[in-house]
Symmetry: C2
Subunit: 437 residues, 2 copies
């Protein structure tokens, strides 16, 4: 029986993480991890939950954008949407008036992600499956019908995408079993935020090693001498065989990136993440070329705003690790396009996570990537940050530094009602208290 | 005596242009030309006016973003801002929390443009000069200090930018006199919007030829047979020696663009504008390369969201005409960077205009480009659309298809109070009437 979406509500939910420098980096020195949180309801009493991640001020703008998109969603049935999901995606991203303020970038794309994440959550719940399983079980032609190929056919045609998915049907069931048993490999960013003291970094690193972590990411880019000290410290802590990655969060110009990272090469980082502007495809290509002889790759994507940008990063050999984000791109639909392009260009996908809910969401996508697209774990791992999971109904399960596949139906977006209530900005109790009210 | 900005107000002002298909193109079929309109006031009773252009729905999101930026502006003195304009620019574009929802793109960048346009208007008024003259009279070092060079130093260093400006000091006074006498060459887009009938197109074309216009732009991209008919018709109307340009407003994929434009080559367009996604630098480069043998250039820029994107379009030889926009980029500050890069890469600048107020604003920038940067009119012209000028205090003056330099102090952004009142959305009289209230 078709069910119609009759209501969409959106909330501005913020966590005061800046108080303890959690999440601090060279460009975001005082983030308050936040979400624009969307709930859709159907006439049959089902809910879908979606969100997009933000870092504090400006969340109200994304909320405003979600409200603007709401009119395109409310009144539609789930069946109508998923029977032509490509068309529905384009309805949201190519509205003849609203596309001017994007198109497919910034605030309006973040809002699109929040809304469509809720639709995917609803779809997975209505099928009684976790999202990754909904995707893994879906017919390749149906998957393809969710993707808007506009502007990417010069890199990937529908037929090529279909061929990739059909080919990966082989061995799928074994990979499902493997994931259910072992989980998907993860790395941790929790040990070395820029605002943490050396003392705290050491303590967190020791704890992480004891918990079985083998791959570690350090924030760099504010001060070179500081970075040398911190990279040296963490390399000593983790030893020569564990993996180190460094992340500059867009701090440098192109030439500066090359010089700076060359100075850190002796600590053997696997990648330098976001060395410069997230828009600078040709700059990343120049950096990739310069660092290749040092054995250092370039990773980027958490602020890469759409499939057209990822297409070019791949065409230009501008990255060696694709970092998809579940809330920056236009939800599952656009991420499917990027996973398939990355496979065609033979570049591993290592998702961005952390924030609020990004780990909960993106684990579904990377499980699908392994099971139904890449069939490989070489040079692949998913970011993990140990924050704010307690606010979710179905938080991630990490075992021995691996993401264990979610079992609850949906996209793992649902937050605890109390968490949403107390953290609403500015009227929630947490914020009233901080403002001395 | 320093003056402090004590108030910022912003309004959602919309014109129901979709009723008559003014402004219709292949991707924006029903635009209601609109602005987020900003007024700043100082403690000495001066005002500055700024705006950014939108096409209807979603303007309220940009208004919300302007309100979020307001806290960074109110309380600052004009003197404090212009003594370190680069720093102030970065304060707005790199706020540690708000940059996440950009950075420097989409809604937040449009809002930045509106706010900074008002600051530049205030500055020019306080000096008693039209903005173009403020820029032309400004010391090159001071001009440079307004530009954020972050992420573009691999294409243009501060020293190179300074050298360009110093070199162009020669002959500056003659060029000022020439502009005051002859004006800056323009082309018209008013004759051939996609929604216009052949009958209307013919009539408007005849009128325009009688008024001295020699350069015409036609919207294409929805239907090839239609385009052939319309291009043939307009080429017949204007004859072989006048200039024709075509504009697809992002309708095609890369391969499709090449095929389609090749079919229109016999009508000898000077350029194809926005053949594909505004984000697709490498795609535009491929199209440029394919169309060069046909003598057709590629023009783009009205939805190019920042200097990092323009840098790459230039580096990749992906465009042959740079179309700056006064309200998409971060105001005068970022446009200065693009004008200087275009000069270095020897690519002519032909601004995007039309909409609401875009002609009023961008004429200042292109006058500055000719007088103080390029010193050339080769292959250069500024778009003109004959709509909605009557709502401005100092509307553009067109004589013999040339923009005559504005004489009133400021950036020509001020709208008539009555126009703002009656077109406010949704509470203005015009909208109440349309909604049958």
């Amino acid at each position: 029986m078709p069910q119609t979406i009759i209501r969409l509500t959106v909330s501005d939910v913020r966590f005061p993480t800046s108080l303890e420098q959690h999440g601090s980096d060279a460009m975001h020195t005082d983030p308050d991890y936040s979400v624009a949180y969307v709930v859709i309801e159907t006439d049959q009493g089902m809910q879908g939950y979606g969100l997009t991640f933000t870092v504090g001020r400006g969340t109200e703008i994304v909320v405003c954008a979600v409200e603007a998109l709401s009119a395109l969603v409310v009144g539609k049935s789930l069946e109508e949407i998923v029977s032509d999901f490509r068309g529905f995606y384009r309805l949201l991203t190519s509205d003849g008036q609203m596309r001017w303020i994007g198109p497919e970038k910034g605030v309006i794309q973040l809002a699109t992600a929040a809304v469509l994440n809720a639709v995917w959550d609803l779809w997975a719940r209505s099928e009684g499956k976790p999202l990754w399983k909904l995707l893994v079980d879906m017919d390749p032609r149906k998957l393809i019908s969710c993707i808007d190929f506009r502007y990417i056919t010069d890199a990937l045609t529908e037929q090529e995408a279909l061929d990739i998915l059909v080919k990966a049907q082989t061995g799928k069931e074994q990979r499902v079993d493997q994931m259910l048993k072992e989980g998907y490999p993860a790395y941790t960013t929790s040990c070395a935020w820029l605002g943490y003291s050396d003392q705290l970094l050491k303590q967190l690193c020791t704890d992480a090693l004891n918990d079985g972590w083998t791959k570690f990411k350090v924030k760099v880019g504010a001060d070179l001498e500081d970075d040398i000290r911190r990279c040296s410290l963490i390399r000593q802590m983790i030893g020569p065989h564990n993996t180190l990655m460094i992340d500059a969060n867009q701090r440098w110009d192109v030439g500066e990136a090359i010089t700076w990272v060359t100075r850190l090469a002796e600590y053997k980082p696997l990648w330098i993440e976001e060395p410069t502007s997230p828009d600078d495809i040709l700059g990343h290509a120049a950096i990739s070329k310069a660092l290749a002889p040092l054995g250092i790759g370039v990773a980027t994507g958490e602020q890469c705003h759409n499939r057209v940008m990822f297409k070019q990063f791949l065409q230009a050999s501008a990255l060696q690790f694709v970092q998809i984000d579940s809330c920056r791109l236009g939800s599952v639909n656009e991420n499917l396009a990027v996973l398939l392009m990355a496979h065609k260009f033979k570049v591993p996908v290592c998702p961005h996570a952390g924030g609020v809910g990004l780990c909960e969401l993106v684990q579904h996508l990377i499980l699908f990537d392994y099971i139904s697209v890449s069939a490989s774990l070489d040079n692949r791992m998913c970011e993990f940050v140990d924050h704010l999971h307690e606010h979710f109904r179905s938080p991630v399960v990490i075992q021995n530094a691996h993401y264990m596949p979610p079992k609850d139906p949906g996209y793992s977006c649902e937050m605890l009602e109390e968490s949403v209530q107390t953290h609403q900005y500015p009227q929630g109790q947490v914020w009233k208290k901080l403002q001395g009210q």
